[in-house]
């Protein structure tokens, strides 16, 4: 857990005092990622660097796991906090192994234990230890260096990590991949992480909580969904963007919205039976599935009216299907691409898992607004 109490930094410059952080109060619960977000010069990096005292605070307190850190020695404190910077900062004179082992060696681990740890961490990010341990940073690609930068901070297994735009220097494709990898690692490690970013998409993706900074003050501190649905003021609304509702699409998966009880039928079903089943379910469309329960087509109620024979005669092929685990942004994008109001969803094995429609999506986005209007406090707490 990280708790900041009235944390303040005033830089004294020849042109007068500059308040970089103004009585910042916040708490990051154990095992969560908190994103500090804001335009440049808003004080987010200053707030972060005060935690490991790269910038000494002017006043205020910092608690790690409930303990006031002001009594701790700088060096001691820093060795127990993982630190990742945007420029990666791998030491060019050291091999990858030596880089990863810096903090373990500072903590007097024996060489063998540190070496084992380095190999284990490299494997964790999908780099072959035998191949990479003895290489130098300049022999790695940017993405690989960034991965090493992250695992170097994890080497001594610190409970708390500070990350200063850790994925800022990588190309967008690799950034997505590394972000996903990191989230997967985090789901097992459960570190308490403070993470500086200026990218709202990254914040929505990575953060359990997001703190929006302006001129050294926190404008809003809440879950990404809450910030997107209910920006507390004009500044936050502007900062997260006019498309903030669209950004929320990323926070929901098709699984949360799709109707798994949508009517299904098979090719060999008689049209009469299918039509009755549809009117019983008060639906207009039935998805046709094959013997492996895979969606292969659809039939509509209108076309079946007055027709005879089997479903096979009237079935249309499906324009596309989406994985049930996809986020709503991907689903909506597919709907727009196919010019359709609904899509069939499939599970990991390709079997039919439900139907998702545009009204379902908009209703799901609207539900947060309606729900929040009634019980805003409760959501804030969750």
């Amino acid at each position: 857990m990280i708790r900041l109490e009235d944390l303040t930094k005033i830089f004294r410059t020849p042109n007068g005092d500059v308040v970089a952080a103004d009585r910042v109060n916040m708490e990051v619960p154990e095992g969560e990622i908190c994103i500090l977000l804001g335009p440049s010069g808003c004080g987010k990096t200053t707030a972060l660097k005060m935690i490991n005292r790269l910038i000494p605070p002017t006043s205020g307190k910092i608690y790690l796991d409930g303990k006031d850190t002001s009594g701790l020695d700088d060096i001691e404190l820093r060795r127990n906090i993982g630190y990742v910077i945007q420029q990666i900062g791998l030491f060019p004179n050291m091999t990858i192994e030596e880089n990863i082992c810096v903090v373990p060696r500072l903590l007097n681990w024996d060489a063998k234990r540190a070496a084992n740890r380095a190999a284990e961490l490299l494997d964790l990010v999908g780099l072959d230890a035998r191949q990479y341990l003895k290489r130098f940073p300049k022999e790695l690609s940017g993405g690989q260096q960034q991965r090493v930068g992250v695992i170097r901070a994890l080497a001594a297994d610190p409970p708390v990590m500070l990350m200063d735009e850790p994925f800022g220097a990588i190309d967008p494709i690799n950034r997505e991949i590394i972000q996903d990898e990191f989230l997967k690692m985090q789901s097992e490690m459960k570190k308490t992480i403070m993470f500086v970013s200026h990218d709202i998409d990254e914040a929505v993706k990575m953060g359990d909580k997001v703190a929006i900074f302006r001129a050294g003050k926190i404008e809003q501190y809440a879950s990404p969904d809450r910030i997107l649905a209910h920006p507390s003021n004009e500044f936050v609304a502007d900062f997260v963007g006019a498309d903030r509702t669209l950004k929320r699409l990323r926070l929901l998966t098709a699984e949360q919205v799709a109707r798994s009880d949508a009517p299904i039928t098979s090719r060999s079903t008689k049209i009469d039976d299918a039509r009755q089943a549809l009117s019983g379910a008060k639906a207009r469309i039935a998805v046709v599935i094959d013997s492996d329960h895979r969606p292969v087509g659809f039939v509509t109620a209108e076309e079946m009216t007055g027709a005879s024979g089997t479903v096979r005669d009237l079935a249309h092929p499906l324009p596309a299907t989406v994985p049930i685990r996809a986020d709503l942004r991907a689903v909506v994008s597919e709907m727009f691409a196919q010019d359709t109001m609904w899509l069939a969803c499939t599970d990991d094995q390709g079997r039919f898992a439900g139907v998702i429609s545009q009204p379902d999506v908009t209703a799901a986005l609207q539900a947060t607004y309606a729900r929040d209007r009634n019980t805003p406090e409760k959501l804030e707490a969750s």
Binding site: I75, Q87, P92, N93, V102, L106, F136
Partner: protein, 253 residues
Amino acid sequence: MPATGIPPKSWRRHDAVAWPWPRATLFLVFALGIWVSASGLVDSIVTYREDIVYLTKQHLVLVVSSGTAAILVGLPVGIWLSRPSMERYAETVMQVFNIGTTIPTLAVVALSMTLLGIGFPPAFFGLFVASLLPIVRNTYAGLLTVPSHLKEAATGMGMTRRQILWRIELPNALYVIFSGIRTALAINVGTTPLAFLIGGGGLGELIFTGIDLMDTGMLLAGAIPTAALAVAVDFLMGQAQLHLIPKGVNPLR
């Protein structure tokens, strides 16, 4: 000779890995040419054999002692100037050093004679001063060019200042520092013959006496070993730079 920074890629590899051969070859051709055109000289050079051995020893003592002293003093001074506490004064001090560099080495040697008289001490002192400057300058500049994010990462990971200096700053500045030492020793070896002028001995004795007596054999008996020594020292420094500097920070590897 680049005093600071890493040489551009186009010629740096050629410069240090392959250089001994073109220059050594040139030297051989040069020596051979002399030998062919005036083979009578060889005999007269050989007559100075004992002088050559004796004076080369003197010469080497001067080079090694003044060079070592310059390294031992120059490195700590360069490090000290690069510390954050010296930030305000370091540039001024470096300006003084830079002005010092512009004084011709012959003038430095002459000035040290006026201070210390004649003999070994003024020669040692003059050579020491002449070779000190590049070492200080490159150590200082090399340490300053270590990227600040490396220092930030090291600090953030909990290294002490001393650990940052030894494990991060010095290894990453080593290439530039080494270039400074190499320049300094080149200046040192090249200036040492002047030591004779203030009674410091060395191979300059044969060279200058040879000039005065118009005795080409005597002159060459001093000049050839001096030239060979300069080439040898530079070659050794090049090899040391190639092999002693860790792979990760060595642009030659």
